[in-house]
């Protein structure tokens, strides 16, 4: 079962939900930190990093002896990562998304691929939790290839939690695609509601079952709950607006450990997401 934790708005509590959910499962669980531009899940789990692997993207290299400057590659590349300017093709590897198309269209076989490092995968362990963190290199402008590398570590049959980046753009799509259920974390504020509606539209488009966790309930207003009721979206969990939760968070502690009275919230959340994921299974059966 693969559970993605996403949100529209940043700072609503995705990582809080992801790490506490991971700690609340009796048995082994894998947590994948897909927020590769600012991974932070292991700050709360304190797992010792056991291995670090480089992630590379295949970028083109042009054989000067073969290239005649026809610019077939430049016409294909939508990112201007390779182009001929009446000269041999020039490569701007920092713009390359690694699709390999230029190599395929080159009529003279002048293009080969060479690896370009974009970041690392760190594997750490904390009790029953295996944490795989993607960490993008400074200056690398797009995250999806590294997110796909993180997700490439999801073994079959494991219970996986994906901590997504905020927003609704490509890195979020790359994270959520293929999940069995999505938890959308929001807060009961106008800003939280606004970005929740964007996230809902995105996840609906992807066809993954989802529910909402409302964090810091007690502040703000009731519009998030009213919206969910109107849209028929299950509210999986309300996390109260409790100053002690923020205090635990700010010192890198898990809520379920610092405040054991909240443990049942997360065991209940497992139950709820399990039901959501089962819904996807049923939908797939109907589709067959």
């Amino acid at each position: 079962m693969i559970i993605a934790v996403a949100s529209g708005k940043g700072g609503t509590g995705k990582t809080t939900v992801a790490v506490n959910l991971a700690r609340s499962l009796a048995g082994p669980v894998h947590l994948f930190d897909c927020d590769v531009e600012e991974p932070n899940a292991n700050l709360f789990l304190h797992g010792a990093v056991e291995r670090t692997d480089e992630v590379t993207l295949p970028v083109p290299a042009v054989d000067a002896a073969k290239c005649n400057g026809c610019n077939e590659c430049g016409r294909l590349c939508q990112y201007h990562a390779i182009a001929s300017f009446g000269s041999q093709a020039l490569v701007f590897s920092e713009l390359c998304h690694g699709c390999g198309g230029c190599m395929l269209v080159c009529p003279r076989g002048a293009i080969t691929e060479t690896p370009r490092r974009i970041g690392v995968l760190e594997t750490a362990r904390s009790g029953d939790i295996t944490i795989v963190t993607g960490r993008i290199d400074v200056g690398v402008a797009f995250a999806p290839p590294l997110i796909r590398a993180v997700k490439g570590r999801i073994g079959s049959g494991v219970t996986a939690i994906l901590d997504a980046p905020p927003g609704t753009s490509c890195p979020v799509i790359a994270t959520v695609t293929g999940a069995d259920a999505v938890i959308l974390v929001t807060e009961p504020t106008p800003f939280g509601l606004h970005d929740l509606t964007l996230a809902v539209e995105t996840v609906r488009e992807l066809g993954v079952p989802f529910g909402v966790v409302v964090n810091r309930v007690g502040m703000g207003d009731g519009r998030v709950h009213a919206y969910c009721a109107k849209e028929g979206i299950p509210v999986l969990l309300d996390i109260p607006d409790d100053r002690r939760i923020a205090e635990a968070y700010s010192s890198g502690r898990l809520l379920v450990e610092a405040l054991p009275e909240y443990r049942t919230l997360f065991t209940g959340l497992w139950q709820a997401v399990g039901e959501l994921a089962a819904k996807k299974g049923r939908a797939t059966e109907v589709a067959r």
Partner: protein
């Protein structure tokens, strides 16, 4: 010969756009007749990445042998150098003044990018 100059406007009296890749338009001037055409660069101006390369392609496509702009970034510099287009940076207020300085030979040819990407 044809030269290209970045601009925020539509004619020779218009200001020089200090940006190259994200310039609003390019004016292509025939230095023999002073006739000019305007090339829109809206796609480049809105590009998240690779604006300089896109604008360099437009310069080459227009048949210009020289480019005048306020500044020039690293990717555009590589692309234009590969195509043999000479590059000049200027603080001239208008396209007309920039072209006049070019014709008088008072512009200095850029030998490297003078700004970083996304400056």
């Amino acid at each position: 010969m044809k030269i290209a100059c970045t601009t925020t406007g539509n004619g020779l009296q218009s200001p020089v756009d200090p940006r190259f890749g994200r310039a609003q338009r390019l004016i292509i001037v025939d230095t023999d007749t002073d006739a000019f055409t305007v090339v829109d660069n809206a796609a480049g101006a809105a590009a998240a990445q690779g604006a300089g390369i896109q604008a360099a392609e437009a310069v080459v496509r227009a048949g210009a042998v020289a480019l005048i702009s306020g500044h020039i970034g690293p990717k555009a510099f590589r692309a234009l150098r590969a195509s043999g287009v000479k590059m000049y940076t200027t603080d001239a207020p208008t396209v007309e003044e920039a072209v006049k300085r070019f014709k008088a030979g008072s512009l200095t040819e850029a030998k490297s990018a003078d700004v970083n990407g996304h400056w």
